[in-house]
């Protein structure tokens, strides 16, 4: 929000009041109870209706409404691009070409290479010179085989990563294209605009009682991006250490760490598919709207006056405060759309975590 504007505005107001304070009209007649009552009523109504409400509505419709249009709608507008974003290691013409990872991978390869050489040399030495029992020999040979094979994979690791990324992206796009964008938009907007409507409805009387919905706006606007960004970062992290993972996976003692690293790499890369599956589920979830017949489906508008809904049906602004800054007559939100929308956002957060938990220890 534009803080300078706010500051200047408020300063102006404050200074004006400061200036005109000494010239205020005299007290009401202290001997006239009705006058006293009127004064009290005037002060209270000024405090609670004439001043506070426009300010709150200013907050809701001047500050939060543009915020909703930019931040709140952001994920709904470009969820596809956000979810399908993948780094590309080798193809410099690709969109997300990311030389950084490639450098890192080569760096970690160079980091691990001496250990390989050491191990191979040692094993060779063992076979040639020490080579006690037969079984020891067999073991050593076995180990040597392993080392060589893993070394091949090791040196090919950028290629492997690239393949995994490309396959996951293609699968995800195939899944996400099954989703109907109109439905996704409908469901997700039902969630975030539903909270916004409730926030406006409650918040105009007292912002404190609408705090939960106001917070949920931030959650819904940022958490999907947070999950996607987290996936992106963790993916890059594990891509960097992928060669190390392969190397450790081939040494017996380090095997567990290596397995963990490989698993995590695979899971974080293919999480994309599950995220897009969540989108698909959301688009299918639109059928939740028809759970109840439309006439029994309870609705809530941001009409803040008893007759608001009536006035709205007549097409006039129904705040009852005609001079309101920019009253936006939002459509009614239904409980079904609100619930399924919020849960759609929750799904975007829950599915990755579920999968992270379900998909562990799958490598031998």
């Amino acid at each position: 929000m534009k803080e300078n504007r706010i500051i200047i505005l408020i300063t102006a107001v404050a200074l004006v009041c400061l200036a005109c304070a000494p010239f205020a009209i005299a007290e009401a007649d202290p001997l006239d109870p009705i006058a006293q009552a009127a004064e009290g009523a005037a002060e209270a109504s000024a405090k609670y209706f004439i001043v506070a409400i426009p300010i709150r509505m200013w907050f809701q419709y001047e500050m939060m409404y543009p915020w909703m249009l930019s931040y709140g709608e952001s994920f709904i507008n470009n969820y596809k691009e956000a979810i399908l974003a993948n780094p590309s290691l080798l193809d410099s013409s690709a969109k997300g070409y990311n030389p950084g990872i490639t450098n890192a991978v080569s760096y970690s390869i160079s980091l691990m290479l001496p250990f390989y050489i050491l191990a191979i040399v040692l094993t060779g030495a063992y076979i040639m010179f020490i080579s006690g029992s037969i079984e020891g020999r067999v073991k050593a040979k076995n180990l040597l085989k392993r080392l060589v094979v893993s070394m091949i994979f090791f040196s090919m690791s950028p290629l492997i990563l690239e393949t995994m990324l490309v396959t996951s992206q293609s699968i995800s796009s195939a899944i996400i294209n099954q989703a109907d964008p109109a439905n996704v938009r409908m469901v997700l907007e039902g969630g975030i605009w539903g909270s916004y409507v409730i926030f406006c409805k409650l918040g105009v009387t007292d912002l404190e009682i609408s705090i939960a919905y106001w917070t949920s706006l931030y959650v819904m606007a940022w958490l999907p991006y947070m999950v996607i960004g987290m996936r992106h970062i963790m993916m890059c992290l594990f891509c960097m250490v992928f060669p190390i993972g392969i190397a450790l996976y081939s040494f017996v003692y380090m095997r567990d760490i290596g397995r963990k690293i490989l698993e995590q790499t695979i899971v974080w890369i293919y999480l994309q598919a599950f995220l897009s599956m969540a989108i698909l589920v959301i688009s299918l979830g639109a059928s939740y709207y028809y759970l109840l017949p439309a006439d029994q489906n309870p609705k809530l508008t941001n009409a803040i006056m008893p007759l608001g809904s009536l006035g709205e049906s007549l097409g006039m602004p129904s705040t009852g405060y005609q001079g309101s800054p920019a009253y936006v007559s939002l459509g009614p939100t239904s409980i079904l759309s609100y619930a399924v929308g919020s849960m759609g956002y929750a799904l975007l957060i829950a599915v990755p975590f579920m999968m992270l938990r379900l998909l562990n220890k799958f490598l031998p």
Partner: protein, 360 residues
């Protein structure tokens, strides 16, 4: 009671500083800010306490009955559900029995298989018998546990516990009636908080809500859980009689028995509390009260913030301060019954953890 008290305070607050008591004079007397300030907090404290402590009397009065309460296994409520599940599993029973019999008669491969089938048959028929007897069985179980509980609780005097609970949550003895339910030490905490800042008042009546509402909810929950397990008793029997599903059935039966016999542990908790209270000499496990003069001071401080503001330092104070002082200078919260409530709430968790897998 609330109305009486607030009216009283209002009258005091208005009449004392105002010379003329005509309507106009009262309306014009300049003490309204303080009076409303004070009244609001007073009423808030009263209302919130009444709310958080409603039905406290009910729980205190029939604590023993609440512990002893059990659903009637022969009653229609349980039987309706039980019959439903029975109708659900009858075909299963028939099917399995026919199949096993068929197997025994015709296919009957190895002797081992035969033996297995026979044992299965036996267990099935046994299960059927038990299920047909289930209402009797369940009510017998319930009665048994109830009788045991009664016997255990007979060892101690429940009124000791209830009195001490009264001391913690409710009124001590020799309280004027209109103050009765508002002068326990926790209540005084609530009063102070409310007079400091009205929103703090909410957090100070949380203890009441947790304890009293918790007890109320807990007793009903136990009742409901027993109803549930009684209703699906046939299912658990069926599952228990198969080898493949034995684990599940065992788990369910264990749950049934545990929830039914939970009341015994509540009785034991009651006894424990009673013994603690009886054996502990007064003052142990209690926060010692502040000295009397400080109590007076605090009392006047609480009320005085309101009363003093309306130029009558003592009249407002006198209304409440003896009570407040009495409570403040007597020992504060008795922890034993307080913790006893917690123990009663936590009993199921302990039992679930401890008595896992006692069935074969």
């Amino acid at each position: 009671m609330l109305i009486i008290f607030s009216l009283l305070t209002t009258v005091i607050a208005i009449t004392v500083p105002t010379p003329d008591l005509s309507l106009k004079g009262i309306l014009l007397s300049k003490t309204a800010g303080q009076t409303s300030w004070w009244l609001k907090r007073t009423i808030y404290a009263f209302v919130s306490l009444d709310y958080s402590k409603e039905d406290f009397g009910f729980i205190i009065d029939n604590l023993s009955d609440l512990i002893l309460i059990n659903p009637d296994a022969k009653g229609t409520e349980v039987m309706g559900g039980l019959h439903f599940f029975l109708s659900l599993i009858q075909p299963l029973y028939l099917l399995t029995i026919t199949v096993t019999a068929f197997y025994l008669i015709f296919i009957s491969g190895s002797p081992s298989g035969r033996a297995k089938a026979k044992s299965l048959m036996g267990s099935l028929i046994l299960g059927m018998i038990i299920i047909s007897l289930s209402p009797v069985l369940l009510s017998a179980l319930a009665n048994f546990s109830a009788i045991t509980t009664k016997a255990i609780m007979g060892q101690a005097d429940v009124s000791v516990v209830t009195d001490n609970l009264q001391n913690v949550f409710g009124a001590p003895e020799n309280m004027p009636d209109y103050m009765a339910s508002h002068t326990c030490t926790l209540c005084l905490m609530h009063w102070m908080a409310t007079f400091t800042e009205i929103e703090l008042g909410y957090y100070t009546f949380l203890p009441f809500m947790i304890m009293i509402w918790g007890l109320g909810v807990y007793f009903f929950l136990r009742f409901a859980m027993i109803t549930l397990w009684m209703m699906i008793f046939p299912l658990s029997m069926l599952l228990y009689s198969f080898e493949t599903t034995k684990a599940v059935g065992r788990n369910m039966l264990e749950q049934t028995i545990m929830w039914i016999f939970l009341q015994i542990f509540n009785a034991v908790v009651i006894i424990a509390i009673t013994l603690c209270i009886i054996q502990s000499q007064p003052g142990i496990m209690t926060v010692p009260g502040v000295p009397a003069w400080m109590g007076e001071l605090l009392a006047i401080g609480i009320v005085g913030t309101a009363a003093g503001a309306i130029n009558i330092p003592f009249i407002g104070g006198l209304a409440v301060s003896p009570v407040v002082a009495a409570r403040l200078s007597s020992p504060l919260i008795e922890f034993i019954p307080f913790v006893g409530c917690f123990a009663m709430l936590l009993a199921p968790l302990f039992i679930m953890r401890l008595f896992k897998g006692f069935l074969p």
